[in-house]
Subunit: 197 residues, 2 copies
DNA sequence: TATCTTTTGAGAGTCTACTCTCAAAAGCAT
DNA sequence: ATGCTTTTGAGAGTAGACTCTCAAAAGATA
C-alpha cells in the first residue's frame, strides 16, 4: 500500500511544470498578450488542448497562491506582538525559509504579475483574499471585530506600503527587495515620520 | 466664425453619451463579461461597429481619468501642510466641489471598476499613474527627491488606506464613503494607533 | 435645390481563448 | 502478453472582441 507516485503521476507533474516553464519564458520574452496558447503548446511539445487540460485558463499559467505560508508564519508570532511588527516578523520568517532558488522564482513571477495588467487583474482575487485574511488575523490578534475600521486601515496601509516597495523593485531590479520591505514596514510601524530638513 | 457646436457635433456627443450610459446600465444589471458589445449596440440603437467607432475597446466604456481635479486641489493646499493632511484636505475640497449627481455617478463607476477584475486591470495604468503623480507632488512639497523611500511609504500607505475604505464601501453601500475616507486618513495621520482594550 | 463631407449600418472577415469528441498511445495490473 | 484505465493529440467547433469595406443616410454649404 505504499503509494509513492507512479510513473503516470510523475509524468503528469513533469508535463505540467514544463508547460508552465515554457509559458513563463515566452511571456517574459514576447509579452503576455502576444503569446498564444498555441505557441506555448508548441514550445512545450504538447497539443494545445493539453495545455488547457492542465491550466483552465491562460492566466492560470502565472497565478500561484503564495499566501498560505505567510499566514502560517503569522500565526506563529506571539499574539502580544502588535500587528505591523508581527507582519514584519512573519515576512522575514517566510523569506528566510525559502531557498534562494524559490525566492528568485517567486520574485520573478511577481514581476510578471505586477507588470502585465491582465495578470494583475487575474490575481486580484488573490490579492483581496490576502488582504481579507490578513485583516481577519490581525483583528483576532487584537481582540477586535473583523470589520473594525482601525484594523482595516492598518491592513490597507501594510498592503499599500508593500505594493510601493514592489513597484520600486520592478523598476530597479538591483534593489534588495526583502530589506526594503522590512525597512518600509519599520517605517510604517513608527508612524511614517517624515522629518523636515 | 463663431463655432458653437453644430448639429453634427451635438449628435455625436449625444450618441456617445447614450452608448456609454446603456453600457454601464447593462454592466450593472448583468455583469461586465456577460454583456456583449452587440447587446450594448442594440440597447443604444446603433450598429455594433458604431460602438467601436466611439470606444476603441469595451473597457474604454468604463474608464475615466478622474485624477486631474484632485491634483489641482492638492496643489492649492499650502506647502507647509504635511503630506497626509494635505491629501485629506484636497480630498475634501474635491468632493465638496462635486454636485451630488456627479458624486453619485463617479462612485457608481468606481464600484464597477473595483468589482470587475477586467476593469480593475484596465484602469491599473490610471491607478499607478495616480500613485506616481501623488508621490512626485508629495516629494516636491517636502523638498525630497521623488525616489525617497519615506515618501514612497507614505504614498503607498495613503493609497492602501483608500483602497481599504473603497472595498468596505463596495460591500456596504450605505456607508458614508467620504466621511470614512476622511476618518481613515486622519487615523493614518495619527500614526495608526490601535489602543488595546 | 444641388453638391460636398461626415457619419452610419450592414455585414463579411479575423483572431484567439476555450470546448468537445473520439480514437490512438501509454502506463498499469494480472 | 492481455485487457483495463488514464492521458494525449488531432481537429472540428463556438463565442465574442475587434477590423474593414462600401454604399446609404444625414448634416453642412451655397
Amino acid at each position: 500500500m505504499s503509494d509513492r507516485p507512479g510513473l503516470r503521476e510523475r509524468k503528469k507533474a513533469k508535463t505540467r511544470a514544463l508547460i508552465q516553464k515554457e509559458a513563463l519564458r515566452l511571456f517574459r520574452e514576447q509579452g503576455y498578450a502576444a503569446t498564444t496558447v498555441e505557441q506555448i503548446a508548441e514550445a512545450a511539445e504538447v497539443a494545445p488542448s493539453t495545455v488547457f487540460r492542465y491550466f483552465a485558463t491562460k492566466e492560470d499559467l502565472v497565478i500561484v497562491d503564495q499566501f498560505p505560508p505567510f499566514v502560517e508564519a503569522l500565526d506563529q508570532v506571539p499574539p502580544e506582538v502588535p500587528p505591523i511588527r508581527a507582519v514584519r516578523m512573519a515576512m522575514r520568517a517566510m523569506i528566510e525559509a525559502q531557498t534562494p532558488q524559490e525566492r528568485a522564482d517567486s520574485l520573478d513571477r511577481e514581476v510578471l504579475m505586477l507588470t502585465v495588467p491582465e495578470l494583475w487583474a487575474a490575481s486580484i482575487d488573490n490579492v483581496t483574499g490576502v488582504a481579507t485574511t490578513l485583516r481577519e488575523r490581525l483583528a483576532a490578534r487584537e481582540g477586535r471585530p473583523a470589520d473594525d475600521p482601525g484594523i482595516r486601515n492598518v491592513t490597507g496601509a501594510i498592503m499599500g506600503v508593500m505594493v510601493g516597495v514592489w513597484t520600486d523593485w520592478v523598476n530597479n531590479r538591483d534593489l534588495d527587495a526583502p530589506a526594503h520591505l522590512d525597512a518600509a514596514l519599520a517605517h510604517l510601524e513608527a508612524g511614517l515620520p517624515l522629518p523636515r530638513p
